[in-house]
Amino acid sequence: MNETAASETGSGRGADKAKPAGPKAGRVDPSLFVRKTPDGLNQIDLVVQDMHCAGCLRKVERGLGELPGVEYARANLSTKRVAVRWQPARLKPADIVEKLADTGFEAVPFDPKLLSALDETEERRLLRALGVAGFAAANVMLISVGVWAGLASDMELSTRAFFYWISALIALPAIAYAGQPFFRSALRALRARSMNMDVPISLAVLLATGMSLVQTIVNASHVYFDASVTLLFFLLIGRYLDVQARAKACSAAQNLLGLRAMAATVIGPDGTQHSVPVENLEPGMKVSVASGTRIPADGEVLTGRADIDTSLVTGESVPTAVSPGSKVFAGTLNISAPLTLRVTKRDDDSLLAEIVRLMESAEQGRAGYVRLADRAARIYAPAVHVLAAATLALWFALGAGWETAFTHAIAVLIVTCPCALGLAVPVVQVVATGRLLKHGVLVKASDGLEKLADADTIVFDKTGTLTLGEPELVSAGDAGPVEIALAVALARQSRHPLARALAAHGADIAAPALSDIHEVPGMGMEAMLDGETVRLGNRSFTGADDEVSSHAGPELWLAKSSDAPRRFQFADRARSDAAETIARLTHEGFAIELLSGDREEVVRELAADLNIADWRAEARPDEKIARLEELRAQGRKVLMVGDGLNDAPALRAAHVSMSPSSAADVSQTAADFIFQGADLRPIVETIRIARGARHLVVQNFGLALVYNAVAVPLAVAGYVTPLIAAIAMSSSSITVTLNAVRLNWRRID
């Protein structure tokens, strides 16, 4: 067993020895996220995004089990979280994160504040209600079968009464408990003076139960506890499937939110450093920002020069250089050298918070959308009640007893019970969500599919959406192979995105040996080659003259003291299938628009490449929203595809939205769909599946209506007992479910 463990973590082990002690710079201090368990242990929850299979699961759990003092380590593959409990005296939380990093997994602490809100999820409540309803349905059925058999043979009245009372004893508490999800939702709808599917369901269940209780007390011949309990059981199955699909999407979103929870390293007046959560930062505090970490708050640079990756905020892929006095924004990434900042704004006044606020106000515009199922319920539910009341009145008018009249009215309620209607949407949604997940698309909003099927206009962001968001070398100018090799050798030592692009371009070039390589923050790389200084960096650093025509994209210069500086030009290339995807979408009748925060010449070039006639450049977040409002006012239904933090409000304001999985956390949280991979193809696929799903939903509504058209007249005429109605109702639900599964077989190409 030791051997397997060693071989699995072998690669990490060697590196372990060489690594200096202490937590790696740039990680969030996990000790802020530690909770105490009642039995005196420490607990932390970590998000481990790369956990995908049984092998990962085992590596993570076994790696943690090897740490001294760890009492419990359990990974959850569905939520990608790991819970660890340990004896506080024997282990530091940073060691846990370190250990996982050695095993090859990047772990980020998950905010326990978010976690405590999740403890009692809707999913669990429904599952418990489902268990109770299942138990009650099985036992009440068992007794009911006995009663029916008793009708054929001769059952004594006292035995039947005993059976009925037992049924009542099981059914009443079970209905009181398992019916709550429906009763609550019905009450909420009624309080808001509207109707939903749960109103007739609750009414049917309560009426059938109440009447059965009265029948039991007077020892009459028919009770319908079985009908109401089985009805609840089947309905809960549908409801559970729906919630489960949504919970899955939610947990992914919460992991993203958890990642946002950050800590900052504050430098006290006495020079001591300590970690505090970002929400506790106050203006005037001094904060140190290590290279490779995000800026924790809006502020002003005190000391240090560095390159800042602002792509999260502006969507611009080329880093900007900052020096003392420059303003920096929370959420941007420091990529080159340590900085000290003076905080100028509190966490809730930061630009990031401003964007979140913009998002929330955009959200309100969206709330007007009514889901298909609810629209159906608005017409259907009143119709059902009128029908049932009419049946009751009709039978009274015909001179029947209250018992017969009520039985028939309840049969009408149950037979029209919108089970099939209630299932029509969620089942299709579950199937479509599952299918999209296999294609690498995560459906986050439950009404996303419906809205996507309506979309007729697509607005794309540029950087990171149509393009990969990473610069690529497009031209090495007049640099020869020797100079390219030299530039690559320098570039390999830097974390700057342009340098990395250059290094990636020359991955298999044998580079000359350089000595004394170091990075000049905000400028470039410098090294010695055979006693000569070589530099790779920006224009002023390498002494290139300003007259050379500027090109639209970013550039790097290579300077050797003996030679004229050489220029390397970069561009943020379009994704490989961007042109094809745009062509296909145009062919399918979508109006395509490009809305970017980037500079005009870059946007114009890309729009021309991809054949997009309608484009706008240098659009700020509020201008993006304004454009979307304009389109909405024209009656268009817009699908917004974007990734930057600056797109997040627009993603919220659009009718429906998608984000690539490389997008900023906030944007992923804002989007209705998240797609993975380097291709744009999933957009086309998702639209097709959404349209297929809508087609099936309409078909399902049709099926449910046909079934009602046959069953309702029979029920009104009194040919259907509540039990038969319950059975017929279930069979229509099954038909609808099977129809929905067909989406899995449908070809999308």
């Binding site: 067993m1 599952l127 268990g131």
Partner: protein, 62 residues
């Protein structure tokens, strides 16, 4: 039919045991990670059952 006085409660108790077991399994978090549970079947060795004894210090390995 007097036997029903015993049989019906017996049936209910058995069903109730099943329900109690389900509620317990739900409460102890066995439904929290359906995907992980499916994958855990593939662990083919017994060591997951018995976590490594404390004396097995990581430093001592190889």
């Amino acid at each position: 039919m007097a036997v029903l006085i015993y049989l019906v409660p017996a049936a209910l108790v058995l069903g109730g045991l099943g329900l109690a077991a389900f509620l317990w399994s739900l409460k102890s978090g066995q439904y929290d990670d359906m995907e992980g549970a499916a994958q855990r079947i593939l662990f083919d060795d017994d060591e997951m059952e018995n976590p490594p004894p404390p004396k097995n210090d990581p430093e001592k390995k190889d």
